[in-house]
Symmetry: C2
Subunit: 409 residues, 2 copies
């Protein structure tokens, strides 16, 4: 059961002019599952992507980078679940290229205008014949309003589709933003998430897109973790179809850009948090804010040390205010000259530790009250500066072990 | 159930001349448990220790460092379980000092000649009154042959006491080495383990002791991990009572030193591996060897990335040869210029992946056969140099979650 994550609101999933989606069941791993999606993008769109920092990045990630770098523009995306096409060597690259070629041929576009995405089990050959056999049905299904089907079509161990949309006014025109994401385990994005796609009809010049995608990833997908395992397939793609009719945004610091970025960040953050809320076995959604650091890098180190500690995560699962485990994680986060006497720890509004020791006013029942909630804020103050950073994570439950012990069976 | 870890063999636990041990039940956290131990050391021994790198190190760790630095020699150690006296601020230091003073007074020695050790729950006040009330009974219990009682007396979530001994000949004299350790969770030592004590009657000059302790830790406790959580209380103390009658070892490169170090390392490694074999919820003992690196640092990074991955650990638990998870961990271990095309992966004798992809000759049933064993060797070759390193770990099971969700209740 995801933590406070309702099913997407269909009314908020705005069709994006210039972007059409088709989904089908191609039987890639199991029969009777939506597992193949195509996204068709009108000519003239601005597109950028950020990808996993995992050196064992999947074949489709390598091809996405290559195709984006070609500068030919992006006209189509091809997404399969059931197989990650990672750890597959030269054969994996060959199969991914073959599926891109097949789609390009059907659409009459250049193969380099196709971006491929795969997610699922690692180190098994991609059944590219099934992907190619499914293309016709996926293309026949395309329409602009298919965001919900696409959100369903990219799920793996997700228990619920993840999709959000917002609209804002820019230059007197209504601009729409709709995004989808997937992911529940192997989640510690480091450039992007398992898979995230955000599209808008806003007009943004292509040279700004890479920076926009980076900023969105930094404020959202790069701040969540379920289990600390950075995936081989993390990909976030941002599409501006340039069809909303307002003056093209040519600087990311302009007032129009700030309106657009803030709205897109809202979508990106909801998509990223949805991955944590639906994290494998998650029963709690935890916000970890670390303040008082010398820079954001050290704040993030501490936040991730807490977020990745199996002992902290199991204490959350048990609603056990065994909060010394949080202090221990702060201590081993890697700040060499950290002075424990400067540390303050809060759990929501409860002041747990002061000057590195238990707060004399802290009462176990107050900690217990907060630990029983299914949304908890951990607030650490390092007492050595003014920087801060925030990471979102979930607890570690029996269900996580069950899911990952049985994933392939 | 620990993995292939029998109860200690009492006949191998040699009394060490010059070292006496007493254990009692002081009711520190729960009644009816051996939870307080004293170790009395004859004047003239050489002693050194290595301690946690956690910046939230416990009060007793801070005092151990201070007392060792005083150069007054070590005449006694005071060890309690049930409470870690960590995350306890100035009050924790005060209480730890108070227990050292009480023991020093009873023994007629300087307070700085006492080393304190605590292990148990974090961020709760040490019941120093109960420690002090238990001292008389612990002292009354002392004898040289009490190693097994001490191994029992330092257990927390351990399911079995951990103690090993060996004897070797040096300079025509029989030299004895006996050690004990404890720890099962919050195990990712970074200088030492939760608690480890190794004593020998060998004659080693004091100036060599710190280097000897470091070398022993590096080859043993600093190569194991259960859950990646570096404890606040990690301590390893090495004692040479200088009573075996051979010529004092004055260089760590001498033939006598090599004999002694090799025997002591055997004990240290068995103690460290025992912690993994008895790791919380462990059902498998995993040896991770990474070779072909440019230096040992990068090999260790990769080994720990594999050892800490919850996805890899749950796959071991499930005996599921979902071995792409190992490749993913290799990829995110932090080697920036790693070329996946150079990676080879073996599971025992089974060649799973070659050139970064699935080995065409690999058969799932071979992987399955090895994954079902309760001792498994993972062998990764990075293909970029001649360095190698080894780490020992265990799997992640339902029992781990159960133990840590219920630890305090």
């Amino acid at each position: 059961m995801p933590v406070n994550l309702p099913a997407p609101d269909p009314e908020s999933l705005f069709p994006i002019a210039g972007v059409q989606i088709g989904v089908t069941e191609a039987g890639i791993r199991k029969a009777g599952r939506k597992d193949l999606s195509v996204v068709l993008i009108d000519a003239g769109a601005s597109v950028a992507g950020v990808f996993t920092s995992n050196r064992f990045c999947a074949a489709p990630v390598q091809i996405c980078r290559e195709h984006l770098a070609s500068g030919k523009g992006v006209r189509a995306m091809l997404i399969n679940t059931g197989n990650a096409n990672a750890g597959t060597g030269a054969d994996g690259l060959f199969r991914a290229r073959s599926t891109c070629s097949a789609l390009a041929q059907k659409l009459g576009i250049d193969v380099k205008q196709v971006l491929p995405f795969s997610t699922g089990v690692i180190m098994e050959p991609l059944p590219s014949d099934r992907v190619e056999a499914g293309l016709a049905a996926a293309i026949a299904d395309v329409k602009p309003g298919n965001w919900m089907r696409a959100a369903e079509g990219i799920m793996t161990t997700d228990t619920i589709p993840k999709a959000f949309g917002v609209q804002v006014m820019i230059g007197g025109k209504t601009v729409h933003i709709t995004g989808i994401s997937k992911g529940a385990g192997m989640i510690r994005p480091n450039m992007a998430t398992m898979l995230g796609f955000i599209a808008t009809d806003a007009c943004v010049s292509q040279p700004l897109m890479q920076q926009l995608a980076l900023e969105l990833a930094e404020g959202s997908f790069n701040r969540v973790t379920v289990d600390g395992d950075t995936s081989t397939n993390d990909s976030l793609v941002v599409i501006a179809s340039n069809q909303a009719g307002h003056a093209t945004i040519a600087s990311l610091d302009s007032p129009d850009a700030l309106v657009l970025k803030s709205a897109m960040l809202e979508v990106a953050r909801k998509l990223a948090q949805a991955i944590v809320r639906d994290g494998e076995g998650a029963t709690k959604f935890i916000t970890i804010m670390v303040a008082g650091g010398q820079d954001t890098v050290e704040c993030r180190k501490v936040a991730y040390a807490i977020a990745h500690s199996p002992l902290v995560k199991t204490a959350f699962y048990a609603s056990d205010p065994n909060l010394g485990r949080i202090l221990a994680a702060v201590g081993y986060a890697g700040i060499e000259d950290l002075d424990q006497a400067g540390i303050e720890l809060f759990l929501d509004d409860v002041h747990v530790a002061t000057k590195g020791g238990r707060n004399p006013a802290y009462r176990e029942e107050d900690g217990q009250r907060v630990m029983k909630q299914n949304e908890i804020a951990v607030n650490v103050h390092l007492g050595r500066g003014i920087a801060s950073d925030t990471v979102w994570t979930c607890d570690l439950s029996h269900e996580y072990v069950t899911i990952n012990a049985d994933y392939r069976s």
